[in-house]
Symmetry: C2
Subunit: 341 residues, 2 copies
DNA sequence: GTGAAAGCGCTAACAC
DNA sequence: GTGTTAGCGCTTTCAC
């Protein structure tokens, strides 16, 4: 009792009340007199008292911790370039809602059992899982175990699982439509594997635009490759005859830009190039790259909210699709400003 | 008791022993008969029983959780390009040691109080903190609160604080030395602000090499700028007369490569370029970029080990400096192979 | 409005 | 070797 009080009971003793009352105050619960509440609040502030999270969680039967899976080395994962930002968004939202964030990486080997384990041990109440495709074995395990989960970047729902995603398809559709309207006729989409949900959507948007044009002299082509800078460099055959190259990643577009410059073709005079992700690079590319910005902060916030519903109210929120933004820049000429898609 | 047993007492009841005995088995402690241990182990396996982490932690007085701080948006942060890998390394090591990882991002605003809070609430036992400079306010707070902490990327120790870093200086020194030996005479170092520990070290290594050469016709120049792709592009004045450009980041080197190509100077024929970080880009740059690889996995593993010593044995391990590797590639000609530095 | 009491599920000290 | 007991520090009925 000398020095700082370190338990709720010590605070209670000093305030001349019982531990239960202090607990009520700390949790903002009713049933405490104005007088007493004030006195206790002041004591808590004075001693900067926080309480013991582990004890609280044991008593409440949950951990107020969100597990988030961060597939670091999965190079096929479409959201890779934006993971750090997404992670930041989730972490910020979690903090806002008073949740801690437990990180699971998949840098080495299969993390499934470790994650399941953390849930069983009640270290996490639920999961936010940026997933690529339905082939991800973790999804199956998570459903099996009944772990409350919010998927990001993949659209699959179940009993205790919902998702948040954005309009990959509409963004690419808008880009293709505008390039067509500007007179481009041989358009190639450099895309990742279509079984990955986001890439599949982008493919759909692309072909929708091509078909909607009704133009008989319009040639669309989709090339499937591993995304990344190297992919751009290696795609020379695919873009040789194109007058517009839509890339599914900024890094790929960066490679294409270099490739075109080396072969003396001018961007955007004779060929347009676009990227995806709105990475810092895109604004500094030469010429600055038209790209697509995903609503990362909103995605993170919504994922956290959904997960809290799932875990605390046992309701499964409806899946959500958030709008992307096409950021028009010099690599597609002056033909448009920025707008929502 | 129907369905799966869910507490240690239920397991104990089925095994016909007491909860204490089951606990001993689960924690691999002595004092249990061979017979009983076998029977209990089998039951645990059969029911896939894990126990409740929160209860365990409450009883033990610690959380077996490592807090790791991930400064996402701090663009001046030197380790930025490698954070995801570093994070993966730390996370893997933590798992290996049976620790959970709690993530704190600094994407928005000052995270200090949130982090302190988590420690006070006993949600984390200690911190791994990739830090830039002694100006980081979090360092001061952490020392003040006496939170066991391992710093990465900054060299500052105290009572409950130690660090792991790598040979930034020697890597740059080796590069400069080799370029000098190959005949380069006007060498510029594009570096970040020297108050940042890692940049300061690189500066030291650079000047050591210049001075050690004893060459009177050798001109070294250090330019301090914000690292990143844009920085490279914007540094044209600084590199105009150089025959070697040593960059403190691969992204900067990428910009320089582009700049030189646009002004018709050939790499590596008339000018050498090197980067830092060994990001995926560097291998695919044109020409492939000579760069420096940091020992991220070892750093992560050691940081975790040190932190465990700090928290569980109350001993403060000696700071550690790990070796970097210079990766020689086409941007510096054919003059060397890869070696440790 | 407030206190007392009974846990939450585990670990650890001490008996036997 | 193993059981018993007493907490860890909080939340939450249930009386008053």
């Amino acid at each position: 009792m000398d020095g700082k009080p370190t338990t709720i009971r010590e605070i209670a003793a000093i305030a001349g009340v019982s531990a239960g009352t202090v607990s009520r105050v700390m949790n903002g619960k009713p049933g405490v007199g104005k007088e007493a509440r004030k006195r206790i609040s002041e004591l808590i502030a004075e001693y900067d008292f926080r309480g013991d999270g582990n004890a609280r969680q044991l008593a409440k039967g949950r951990s107020d911790t969100i597990g988030i899976v961060f597939p670091l080395h999965a190079s096929e994962v479409v959201m890779h370039p934006v993971y750090p930002d997404l992670l930041g968004a989730i972490s910020d939202s979690a903090q806002l809602h008073g949740k801690d964030v437990n990180l699971f990486t998949t840098a080495s080997g299969d993390p499934s059992e470790h994650i399941i384990d953390a849930f069983r041990r009640r270290r996490v109440d639920g999961l936010i899982l940026p997933a690529a495709s339905s082939e991800d074995p973790l999804i199956a395990r998570v459903v099996e175990e009944g772990i409350p989960t919010v998927l990001i970047g993949h659209r699959q729902a179940s009993d205790r699982m919902t998702w948040v995603d954005c309009t990959h398809d509409e963004a690419i559709e808008e880009i293709a439509r505008r390039l067509i309207a500007a007179g481009r006729r041989r358009i190639v989409l450099l895309n990742g594997p279509r079984r990955v949900c986001a890439y599949g959507l982008r493919s759909e948007g692309f072909w929708r635009a091509i078909e909607a044009s009704g133009l008989s002299d319009l040639v669309g082509e989709e090339v499937e490759l591993d995304m990344g800078y190297a992919a751009g460099i290696g795609a020379s055959a695919a873009v040789r005859d194109a007058d517009a190259v839509i890339c599914s990643a900024d890094s790929t577009a960066g490679g294409i830009l270099e490739l075109l410059r080396d072969s003396g073709r001018e961007v955007p005079a004779t060929v347009d190039v676009t990227g995806f992700d709105d990475t810092p690079f895109s604004a500094h590319a030469n010429p600055p790259l038209t790209t697509v910005r995903m609503p990362l902060r909103e995605t993170g916030e919504l994922a956290v909210q959904h997960l809290i519903r799932l875990t605390e109210e046992s309701i499964t929120p409806a899946p959500t699709i958030l709008p992307t933004t096409v950021v028009w820049r010099g690599s597609t000429g002056e033909r448009a400003g920025t707008r929502e898609s």
